[in-house]
Symmetry: C2
Subunit: 300 residues, 2 copies
């Protein structure tokens, strides 16, 4: 099996395990009879590559974990990602009408509904996180460390704080260092956390945890650079979301600094550095490396 | 000291301890230099009676707790309340331009900013919660129980879910039972949680915890009924927020069912029942009872 085929097999597994669990969570809301149920189900039904769940699974196994309950932890991470997407697509944010080939939540429902759905998904993510910890019988220290990592990744020094900086930066001239700082929060923090919590759930030692976190930081950046390249080069159909948005919003991207070819090379360089971080920390790198390479070679 | 004077002294203490800590948290954001800092500081600066923090302090002490670190737990609860206010005031929700005598966050900044501030306050509340647990040296089981209580109180079966039901119900005819179900979530859940987590932090036994939770449920309802009476009878200046909103939004309230006098009597009855719950569970009731009576007699 080639490395890319291995990554695709892992992503397919992550999709199967995550999608089934997301469906189960959505069903709970539907059964609860709350009027929010339908919109929550729609948001949770957003299809995706499930890169973050695949990273959770791979970092867990690379650290010696074998419990299938890890699928719940992968699902909790994807729910956090989902609520950030719901908000990122709102008219007051990136104003996107399509996401992964479907109309976005605020288009199908309305803006207030989508805003509140995003909010309701926060405690849902925490509930699923508790379920994961119960399923795997994690001790309380590990549980709390995982909860802190994920919350930190979604807060002001993470996802939501990064979205904010990104909005403030729109139409402004940024240096490459500033751009990196924004993306380290906006996309990087949750990808880093996905790798870290997989290791934590498996009881990885501090050196390996640091290696997983460093790997996550580098592939988070590689992911964003690859996204910028795709936005500049792929079609809307290929992406399942509106292509060319960055240029139309006059956003600074890695492509503005490095050009398409330069950005591609930089993404590859970051993926290689990521894998070297694992080797340095003696983390079994096969599956994680295949994901790192997939991330920079993907076509959507 | 009369009972109301005792309640006012406790509220004054809760204001002093909570406001100082909210200021400290706001300062962290300001120092962080994040562009969100100013709006977060404004939202955290919302003045208030600090009923929920006072309930945390009183239920903690009624359960034998003596650590001043409880002030951080009270602050975490108030931050959760604050983020619900920021969202509740948005144009897509209750559309209120004034809150506690000040323009609301979305009026001073704008709607997208206020939406994102609300979001950012969720991880802030969790961070302050962790700080509280560290300050008091709480064990991990207690810590996790407190986190679960507070998150459940803010989720779909709590605050945000209740706000949603409340919006759906606008302009519709409801039965009194439906109205109660909405308010049990919208206002009741967090008030109940405030009482419960104070007891948990002090290591109260299951019987006393159940008593505190039952007390919280009843005063949560009493609080909402008293709110409805005030909305119908007080002036905007007295309330520090727009009076008469319920009638102008054609909202069903306890006053629509019971009339002003009937609603007042029902609020008093719920306060008495709340105090009886404490006695049944052998929880020291003096301070909590004074707060229960304050809640139904307050003029704003």
């Amino acid at each position: 099996m080639t490395e890319i085929a291995a990554a695709e097999a892992l992503l397919a597994e992550a999709r199967a395990t995550t999608d089934a669990r997301l469906g189960e969570v959505a069903l709970r809301f539907q059964r609860g009879g709350h009027p929010a149920g339908e919109a929550i189900r729609y948001a949770l039904g957003t299809v995706g590559k499930r890169v973050r769940p695949a990273l959770v699974l791979a970092s867990y196994r690379a650290s010696g974990g074998t419990d299938p309950g890890i699928g719940w932890l992968a699902t909790a991470v994807e729910i956090i990602h989902t609520y950030s997407l719901v908000h990122d697509d709102l008219p007051c944010m990136d104003d996107d009408a399509r996401r992964r080939g479907r109309p976005t939540t605020h288009v199908v429902f309305d803006v207030p509904t989508a805003t509140r759905v995003g909010f309701l998904l926060v405690p849902v993510a925490v509930e699923v996180l508790c379920q994961a910890a119960d399923a795997m019988g994690l001790d309380l220290v590990t549980r709390q460390a995982i909860a802190r990592d994920l919350l930190a990744a979604s807060g002001i020094r993470g996802m939501v704080g990064g979205q904010w900086l990104d909005l403030v930066a729109e139409g402004q001239r940024l240096g490459e260092a500033e751009l990196r700082a924004i993306h380290a929060r906006k996309t990087g923090a949750l990808i880093r956390a996905a790798c870290l919590v997989g290791g934590r759930a498996a009881g990885a030692d501090p050196t390996r945890l640091a290696g997983l976190a460093a790997f996550g930081e580098d592939i988070g950046l590689a992911f964003q650079i690859a996204d910028d390249v795709l936005d500049a080069t792929a079609t809307t159909d290929q992406l399942g979301k509106t292509a060319g948005r960055d240029a139309s919003l006059r956003k600074m991207t890695y492509v503005s600094f490095l050009g398409v070819e330069g950005a591609r090379a930089e993404a590859r360089r970051m993926a290689e550095r990521a894998v070297a971080r694992l080797d340095d920390a003696r983390v079994e790198a096969t599956a994680l490396a295949s994901l790192a390479h997939y991330i920079v070679q993907r076509q959507s």
